[in-house]
């Protein structure tokens, strides 16, 4: 599957986003700012800021771009901040094929770099007022952003607590990934709509689109975490299994195969071999968990696209290219292999 519009859009905006982020994350002490830029410099798909900009342009045309950029950068810096702290908590050594921030700079500076990134993310959102967003919409954007950041912390809390629990069901899981992952995509699309100065109902409809894309994205993330190619993902394989992460695959499989559940429990508590992990991954697939998860991700992706089509039928889309980007973002999130 090709993602022509998304590729073009990425080529246009990623260099711009990167140069803005480099300018913003410059200061003293230098070592702290280097730590804050470490993961951002390693690249990434930048899907969230692209979603902000594409939404702003789709609904508001070219005028919305400058207002959207400042919000988009806030979202991307925030997202990277969460990864810096997650890697410390999970004691992960690699991300995007590079050593993680705390491996290079030590834990104290990595925690502080994360906190600095969080500050800078907020600052970037608030600075949208300087490029014509207006005070009322800037407050609305900051509020949306702060609410999302609260949800992300709650989701991370659930993710940590679920590692030690076995009575986690699919509903618990969906709530957790909404908070941990989808809430920030919901905020991305909402902020794009705010940058376009869209009406409240349109901001909400776009938020719904972002939420659905986020759910598809996280389910797909669970899939490629277990069956993906580490050379493409940049992360070690089976790390979710090793840590006892309650992914959709694990929850689905454990509910359907009691022997496998006991085996998985013992994996999480006992000594792990590559062989036992591979066997567990095969056992999970045998329950139909992979097909189920793929189907669910596709279904969220389709629902997201329906939300877009409804907005288009209402005559709210003013930029067809940006509309295609949003459509492809929904498709890509459910199909990506990295």
């Amino acid at each position: 599957m090709e993602f022509r519009a998304l590729d073009e859009f990425s080529k246009k905006y990623i260099p711009l986003l990167d140069s803005y982020m480099r300018d913003l994350l410059r200061g003293s002490p230098e070592e702290l700012y280097s730590a804050a830029m470490h993961l951002i410099k390693a690249g990434g798909k930048r899907l969230r800021p692209l979603m902000v900009i594409a939404t702003a342009r789709a609904l508001g045309g070219p005028d919305a771009e400058a207002r959207a950029l400042s919000l988009a950068i806030g979202i991307e810096i925030f997202h990277n901040f969460t990864l810096v702290h997650d890697d410390i908590m999970d004691n992960d050594d690699y991300r995007r094929g590079m050593p993680t921030v705390h491996k290079v700079y030590g834990i104290p500076l990595a925690i502080t770099a994360g906190d600095l990134m969080f500050s800078m993310a907020f600052l970037s959102v608030i600075r949208a007022v300087e490029v014509g967003l207006g005070h009322e919409l800037t407050v609305k954007a900051a509020r949306t952003f702060a609410d999302a950041s609260r949800k992300v912390a709650e989701g991370q809390g659930y993710d940590i607590l679920f590692e030690k629990l076995w009575d986690v069901d699919e509903n618990d899981y969906l709530k957790m990934i909404y908070l941990k992952t989808a809430a920030l995509m919901e905020a991305s699309a909402s902020l794009g709509a705010i940058a376009a100065k869209a009406r409240d109902e349109v901001v909400e409809a776009m938020g719904e689109y972002g939420r659905l894309v986020g759910l598809a994205f996280q389910i797909r993330d669970d899939i490629i975490g277990l069956y993906g190619d580490p050379a493409k993902t940049g992360k070690p394989v089976y790390s979710d299994l090793r840590r006892g992460k309650k992914t959709l695959l694990v929850i689905y499989a454990a509910a359907r195969d009691q022997d496998l559940r006991r085996k998985l429990e013992s994996i999480f508590t006992g000594k792990l071999t590559e062989e036992s992990l591979r066997e567990a991954a095969e056992g999970i697939k045998a329950t139909g968990a992979l097909s189920y998860a793929e189907g669910l991700a596709q279904s969220y992706s389709q629902m997201a696209i329906e939300r877009l089509e409804r907005l288009r039928s209402s005559g709210l889309i003013v930029d067809e290219e940006a509309y295609s980007v949003l459509r492809e973002l929904a498709l890509f999130s459910a199909q990506r292999d990295k």
Copy 2:
């Protein structure tokens, strides 16, 4: 020395602040919110939020109180967030006489609880719009807050980096404590003035007052960290020395006594005994470092009071009780023993 106005003000507002914070920091997952409330429930002097409220009332009268409360809570939650992360970085076991958050909840949940507190702090600042601050001033408050949070992270970065350096002079130190400590007090007084809807020059003058109080406060903190009573401070004695913290006392003493400097360096790198720490603390005192630091804290405190008196001469003070609280906050910061 008595602090009558400050004591009265504390008795009136601390229960109110505490109940607002308990209401705000309630949610799911419960364990995460308990972790976020852990340090806040342990008490604390609440000097920063009291400064916000006293400034707002001194300049704006009783009407400013409701607007100030939301900002004050943001400042206090943010301050507690920095302590939660600091304790992880410093691997400290006790704070306010209680086990630290990561000792009780583990590092992953403690990092996440800190991140949640940061989000909630921002949310509380932005919510001032709901109690009549207006969109323009809410953006200004959020901007002031975000700027301060950036500075605090930079200051924390310097503090960490200075632990391993010996060519840190008094200017480096003053810059570091401005960022790490005084910037948040500067923001506290500025936010109080914003809540009072004061003119820009008045907001700046109050910020200057807060900055000076903050410098006095941190120098005093260094003093009681070395010569204070652990039963009063709630922190283990000599922990700054153990960690190689470049306090004003250490910088002053090391610059004036080469033998002591070598001894301090060996303390920071070698094996520590209570005896060698006590000797070092006495050696530092013998250089005149304690008198010098006390004098400097007093001098910042006096400058802060002069700023207040200037505002009063201009007829800007509308609440004498709140004015006395601000005056006593400046005095207390330089004289406190806890």
